[in-house]
Structures are given as structure tokens and as C-alpha cells.
């Protein structure tokens, strides 16, 4: 089945408003339905990113969320990879993509996901604010995202770019089905000019999240797939779900 994604308001607003009083700038929000064939799996929403500047430290603030439908199967997670000439908390060389958080970040876990899978960080402390369980709302259907990457300008040019993906994680097979990918980032010139960009949708999977990259960091554990069928129930599971629904409805009527 081919993946089909449908953009709504943003695309419409650009098309209609561009000729009037607005022009398409470098910063955009996202409001996107993620479909697999005709099946709606999730909606991705991001506000227009904002610039972060405090003294000589600059960066970008990005916030958004993904809301899954009943058709979404597996665990919904964010995966973010960074490419920068000033890597942090990682042994990855400059200008080579690495998973965020890096493997040396004491507050992180050893999973490829942005939010921690465990309450306890690598250093043994509890970080409730980074725990994925605390990032869900709306009955466990909406997963938030927030990032505010920054670097301190010391006279050298700095580049920082992220590729953020929404994935479904099959915990049995460790297949990560990538459903949506976007990119954002910032640049600081040698003269101290900060420019931010994004958040821009890109081809699902992007360019940073490769099988080789995840194998190198986590060993032969995870499989990256851009086939959205990994994120919908198998026919047998779907039949079972339908049966369970009918059974539950009958019990409710009988009660």
C-alpha cells in the first residue's frame, strides 16, 4: 500500500494568501494528516518555530504534537537526529548525524527515542519531565514534542540541523515504522547573526535516520522501515479488534 499524506490548512493558506498581503517566509508550522492508503493514522501539528536569543547564546524553540487514531498500532514515539559542527554529549564527529539525546547525555536512556523510555536517566536519577509516559495527553493518544537547542557564539560559525520523525514502534520486533519526518535548525555566522529555519516537511525517513546510523549506535536491534503498513493492524489483528468491539457492544446491551 502506498503512503498518502494530506496537508490541509497551511498549504491552503499559502496558496490563497500569498498573492494578497502575505509571503511565504522561512518559518512554517505543520498541520498534517498522516494516512496509510485511506486509513488515517495520526495528525501532526507544529507551531511556527520561534527564535531563542539570550546574550551570546542563540537557537530555536520548536513545539508540537502528534495525535494518533484508533488505527495506529505500536507505540507512538519521536526520533530526532542532529547534524551540527558543534556536537554535544556524543562521541560522534562534527557534521555527522547523531541521535538526540547523545549517548553521553547523563539524563538520557539507551533508546533511539527523543523522550526517555524510563523514568530513570543514565545517571540513575529520576527525570519525570523527560519521561515519555508524562508526554502523553488526550487519553494517551497525543504525544507532545518540545525542543530548544542552542549554542553559544564565540566568534566561529555554527550550524545545527535536526531531522525529527514520528514513528510507530513494534516492541516485539523492534521495527520502527517511520510515518512523518520534518526538519528545522539554525545557523550562527562568524559575525554572530542567528538565523532559524523550519519546520519543514521532508520525504519520510529523511536523510539522517538510516539503518546504518541506528545499527552503529544501538547494535543490530532496530529495523527502520518507511512502509506505513507497519503502523496499522495486521488483518488478523484487525478482525480480532472488530470481534472484541462487537462482543463488548453486546455485553453493554445485555447489561
Amino acid at each position: 500500500m502506498n503512503r498518502s499524506t494530506i496537508g490541509r490548512c497551511v498549504a491552503a493558506a499559502v496558496a490563497i494568501c500569498a498573492g494578497a498581503t502575505m509571503s511565504l517566509g522561512a518559518l512554517t508550522g505543520i498541520n498534517k494528516e498522516i494516512k496509510c492508503g485511506d486509513t488515517l493514522l495520526a495528525t501532526v501539528n507544529f507551531a511556527v518555530p520561534t527564535l531563542y536569543a539570550s546574550g551570546a547564546t542563540g537557537g530555536i524553540t520548536v513545539s508540537g504534537s502528534a495525535t494518533k487514531t484508533a488505527a495506529f498500532t505500536g507505540k507512538m514515539r519521536w526520533v530526532q537526529m542532529i547534524k551540527t559542527n558543534q556536537p554535544l554529549n556524543t562521541n560522534t564527529p562534527a557534521n555527522t548525524p547523531y541521535f538526540d539525546p547523545g549517548e553521553l547525555d547523563p539524563t538520557g536512556n539507551d533508546f533511539p527515542f527523543y523522550w526517555n523510555e524510563n523514568l530513570q536517566g543514565r545517571d540513575g536519577n529520576n527525570y519525570a519531565g523527560l519521561w515519555v509516559q508524562n508526554k502523553f495527553s488526550n487519553g494517551g493518544n497525543t504525544l507532545s514534542f518540545f525542543d530548544e537547542p542552542k549554542r553559544t557564539w564565540t566568534g566561529a560559525a555554527i550550524n545545527w540541523q535536526a531531522e525529527l520523525s514520528l514513528v510507530c514502534w513494534d516492541m516485539t520486533t523492534n521495527v520502527l515504522g517511520v510515518l512523518w519526518t520534518g526538519t528545522y535548525g539554525f545557523n550562527i555566522t562568524a559575525g554572530g547573526n542567528l538565523t532559524i529555519n523550519g519546520i519543514t516537511e521532508m520525504a519520510v525517513g529523511g536523510t539522517f535516520l538510516t539503518q546504518a546510523a541506528i545499527d552503529q549506535r544501538f547494535g543490530d536491534v532496530y529495523t527502520i522501515s518507511t512502509d506505513c503498513e507497519n503502523c496499522i493492524p495486521t488483518p488478523a489483528a484487525a478482525g480480532l479488534l472488530a470481534f472484541a468491539g462487537v462482543f463488548a457492544a453486546r455485553r453493554r446491551r445485555a447489561a
Binding site: A13, L27, A53, S54, T57, P106, E148, L194, I196
Partner: protein, 175 residues
């Protein structure tokens, strides 16, 4: 002057476009960069103004320098409930949440006493909140020095000590 024909059509088209634009802007994100959200800026100016975090007696530690995923904010107070209440207050404004840590009275007094008075920098922010609040921004060297002193106050093997040590690791990694 008679307005009709093409004129009316253009007015109608304009109204329709305006209505759709309004709908688009209220129902979803604006596609361009609004005037109050600049896409570029010149760094090196004054650091952003900082608002008080809580009126509960506590010490709040924030990393302000380079980071990828923003580190959590540490909140130390003398007593578990004070630490929890202060962290809850800070949580409201911190997307990554605050991590509370209760310390003994002597350790808390030591933490507060270790905060430098006339420091300036941008790597780490230490705030003494409560009745006589004050806040200092420390550079990397001063920040490490304060974290080492704070660790000594609370004792390295304690939970508070581990949190401070983690922050020191993050600070050290900053370019």
C-alpha cells in the same frame, strides 16, 4: 460612479480570500513568519530578562548554555514538601519539567551560601528564591566551581549530589 460587473466580482473574490485567510490563520498555523517572531537576530546583546520562579525557599539551577535536548531544571529545598511544591511551581514554566530534591537544613544553607554574589556569565543560572530572591548567571568556569561547592554541601553520594554531578557533566561538555 457605478460599481458593478468586474468590480463586484473582484470585491467578492477579495472578501472570499480574506475570509479564507482569516480561517486559515485562526484554525492553523500561519505559513509565514509573523512580525513578532523574527527569523534572525544579532547575538551578543543583553541576556533576556528573567522572571522570578517561585516564592518558596529553594535553589533553582538551570543550564542556559549550549544544549540539544533541553536539560531538566533542578530544584533544591530543605524538606521534601518544599522541594515538591517549588518544583511544581517551576514546572508550569519549564517544558522539560523540574526535578525536585530535598536536602537537609545545613546542606540547604550551605547551598545558598555558596552562590556567588557578583558573578556574570551565560552558561548556568542559579536562583535563590523565597523571601529574598536573587539570581546569578555564571560562566562555565564559575558554574563548575559552584557545582563542585554545591556537591560538597549536599554530599556526593546523595540524590542531590548525583543531580549536581550530572549537571556538571553537561556543563563540562559545552564547547
Amino acid at each position: 460612479m457605478v460599481i458593478g460587473g468586474d468590480g463586484l466580482a473582484w470585491i467578492a473574490l477579495g472578501s472570499l480570500a480574506g475570509a479564507i485567510c482569516s480561517l486559515a490563520m485562526s484554525g492553523c498555523e500561519r505559513p509565514d513568519n509573523p512580525p513578532d517572531r523574527p527569523a534572525s537576530a544579532r547575538l551578543g546583546g543583553a541576556a533576556a530578562a528573567l522572571a522570578p520562579s517561585t516564592n518558596i525557599a529553594c535553589v533553582i539551577v538551570r543550564l542556559r548554555g549550549a544544549s540539544d535536548r533541553p536539560p531538566p531544571v533542578l530544584v533544591f529545598a530543605a524538606g521534601g514538601s518544599d522541594a515538591a511544591h517549588a518544583a511544581a511551581a517551576v514546572n508550569a514554566s519549564e517544558p522539560m519539567g523540574a526535578t525536585p530534591s530535598a536536602v537537609g537544613d545545613a546542606a540547604y544553607a550551605c547551598l545558598v551560601g555558596a552562590i556567588p554574589s557578583g558573578a556574570s556569565g551565560a552558561a548556568i543560572e542559579v536562583e535563590h528564591c523565597g523571601a529574598s530572591p536573587r539570581r546569578v548567571l555564571l560562566d562555565k568556569v564559575e558554574g563548575e566551581r559552584w557545582l563542585a561547592a554545591a556537591s560538597a554541601c549536599v554530599g556526593a553520594p546523595s540524590e542531590a549530589g548525583r543531580l549536581l554531578e550530572s549537571m556538571r557533566t553537561l556543563l563540562r561538555a559545552m564547547p
